[in-house]
């Protein structure tokens, strides 16, 4: 008998509803819509585990059309343009394993399916702010990073978590360029990683996370610039030293380790005061910590330190 386990992406909304309907209604998406749409579910004819949308993090903005979120991507492993989504389709998503190592009680390798059995999935709609002064609003399916950390059982000496993305020149033409410091590494402090906002995404718009968006599994830290949210994770390392991250290595004067969103601290080449909402004509003011200060401001007692924001 085939035992149906919940995949990392199953949510009621988009499954039950033609995407056009969801998107057409996106301005009214809000509290209660999840349950309203859930009434469509029985029509689908097959059983799936319900994943409910968390309303604790209401983005206060319309969700960006999926078509835009899945076709405008920074993913240098596939190429340095934004339109890498077609190239990325070649990347096999199964099987996928993640290595957990470093300062943990027992280093191990875990398969995606096994990992997903041990966590409970939810959907969160987060604002996503790219360092290039654009933003989108994205429904991610996944689980809190904190639950992964609990599974990993880090030692008390672990102070940072490093996230490593896949490098596979067979599918990723960008990594063939030998002069960039592949693999892509990102990192958080343990405190940041345990913050309730830090999220591991395995789905997008109720579907499996596509490769161009970091499928099958990625990090999402919505109060930091997008490049912190490493994609297509293959290794998570607990360490006592601050990881050397990809962008900090190639351009330290422009991209730092902390990269918390702050409208008052410019990028050397542009102002961060406002952001362009993808797929709209709107340019809106950027908020400190991308509007998530309520949850994360206490992580950074010394707000005066400019390095926290670049």
């Amino acid at each position: 008998m085939l035992i149906r386990i919940a995949r990392g992406w199953e949510i009621p909304e988009s499954k039950a509803t033609p995407e056009a309907f969801v998107l057409g209604r996106r301005r009214t998406l809000g509290i209660g819509l999840g349950s309203a749409l859930a009434t469509f579910l029985p029509k689908m004819g097959h059983t799936q585990q319900m994943v409910s949308r968390s309303h604790r993090y209401d983005p206060g903005r319309p969700i960006t059309p999926a078509q835009i979120v899945t076709t405008y991507n920074n993913f240098y492993e596939f190429g340095s343009d934004k339109d890498i989504w077609e190239t990325a389709q070649g990347l096999p998503m199964h099987p996928w394993v993640i290595r957990i190592e470093g300062l943990v009680s027992k280093p191990r390798t875990i398969a995606m399916e096994d990992l997903l059995k041990q966590v409970s999935l939810e959907e969160r709609v987060y604002r996503h702010r790219c360092v290039e002064a654009w933003a989108m609003t994205v429904p991610w399916t996944g689980f809190p990073l904190a639950s992964l950390i609990r599974l990993a059982q880090p030692l008390s000496s672990a102070r940072y978590v490093a996230f490593q993305s896949l490098v596979d020149a067979k599918y990723m033409p960008g990594v063939a360029e030998p002069f960039f410091p592949w693999p892509y590494i990102e990192g958080l402090t343990i405190e940041e990683a345990n913050n309730e906002l830090a999220f591991i995404a395995t789905g997008l718009y109720g579907k499996p996370l596509p490769p161009q968006n970091g499928g099958p599994i990625r990090l999402v830290v919505p109060w930091k610039y997008g490049f912190k949210s490493a994609k297509s994770l293959v290794k998570i390392t607990f360490t006592d030293r601050q990881p050397h991250t990809f962008w900090e290595t190639v351009s330290p004067q422009e991209y730092g380790f902390w990269a918390n969103v702050n409208p008052e601290v410019s990028h050397p080449r542009w102002s961060q005061a406002t952001e362009r909402l993808l797929g709209s004509d709107e340019r809106v003011p950027t908020q400190i910590y991308n509007g998530y200060g309520e949850w994360v401001a206490s992580l950074y007692p010394n707000k005066k330190d400019k390095r926290l924001f670049m």
Partner: protein
């Protein structure tokens, strides 16, 4: 002064000149293509940014193409080509003007903010200086100005070379990481400068042009690797090495510049030998009326 549209496709003597009409169509094509795509299908997630990049790149390309007129004239012996230079230069200025207008649109025409940005961001300061210079050249490109400024006209318009350098620097600086496009353009510009440095009598010689191929490719490689090494923390030695990994990486900017300049040398050779082995036609040596 009467403005006749026909100057856009006629030569100095007022006769229809197919090549000029073709060049006119070619310089309009990127703009028409962009406008059509934008209005029919949209330009994706960040249309204004996409458009800014597109017209900026074409502006710089056209500027460099306008600088290729003199070498082309020398290599192919077509004196009349010089009559195309003004159109190419004005087209470049128009694209770059549109580039600036699109930037202002993206910044919602907030004049104070735009001025602050131009002052604060070095790449925009450089872009603005370049834009101002190009506007001055465009404004003084008319026949009337040419007559009025006399010898100073030539001096003024030599500014186009440093302006092209500034445009290239702006293009390198705006890149987040990948400078392949600016590196290719910088390589082609280097070829143009190397060509200018050739002694006059060698400027039509295919052999000299073959000599320029490795030099231009080398210049491209050095410019690219130098940028990564100096402006970014990317090991320049490995960038240089990547140039020879053609099997895995394909052609890199130096490779493309090599191919393009080799094509020029081959064309020049072809022309050289076809003229040598053909009995001289009576009209071949007839004096060509210089215009422009």
């Amino acid at each position: 002064m009467k403005l006749r549209l026909s100057v856009l496709w006629c030569d100095r003597s007022g006769r229809f000149w197919p090549l000029k009409a073709l060049v006119l169509a070619a310089v309009l094509a990127p703009g028409i293509w962009l406008a059509a795509r934008w209005s029919l299908f949209g330009l994706g997630a960040r249309p204004l940014n996409t458009a800014i990049h597109f017209v900026g790149l074409w502006g710089l390309r056209l500027l460099l193409i306008s600088l290729a007129v003199t070498p082309a004239r020398g290599i192919f012996g077509l004196v009349k080509l010089v009559q195309l230079r003004r159109m190419l230069g004005l087209a470049a200025a128009a694209y770059i003007g549109a580039h600036f207008v699109l930037y202002c649109l993206d910044q919602q025409f907030q004049a104070v903010h735009i001025a602050q940005e131009i002052l604060r961001r070095h790449y925009l300061t450089i872009g603005f200086i370049t834009l101002t210079g190009l506007a001055a050249l465009a404004a003084t490109s008319t026949d009337a100005m040419l007559r009025r400024l006399r010898r100073n006209w030539k001096r003024l318009h030599r500014l186009v070379y440093p302006l092209a350098v500034l445009g290239l620097v702006h293009a390198f600086m705006q890149a987040k990481l990948d400078v392949s496009q600016p590196a290719i353009l910088a390589g082609l510009f280097s070829w143009e400068m190397l060509y200018r440095a050739l002694p006059k009598r060698l400027q039509a010689s295919p052999w000299a042009l073959f000599l320029l191929v490795p030099l231009a490719a080398l210049a491209t490689a050095i410019e690219e690797a130098g940028w990564y090494g100096l402006a970014k923390h990317v090991p320049w030695q490995r960038v240089l090495e990547a140039n020879v990994m053609v099997r895995t990486l394909g052609l890199r900017p130096a490779g493309w510049v090599g191919v393009a300049t080799l094509a020029i040398a081959l064309l020049a050779t072809l022309r050289h030998f076809s003229r040598r082995f053909r009995p001289p036609a009576p009209s071949a040596s007839a004096p060509v009326v210089v215009g422009g």
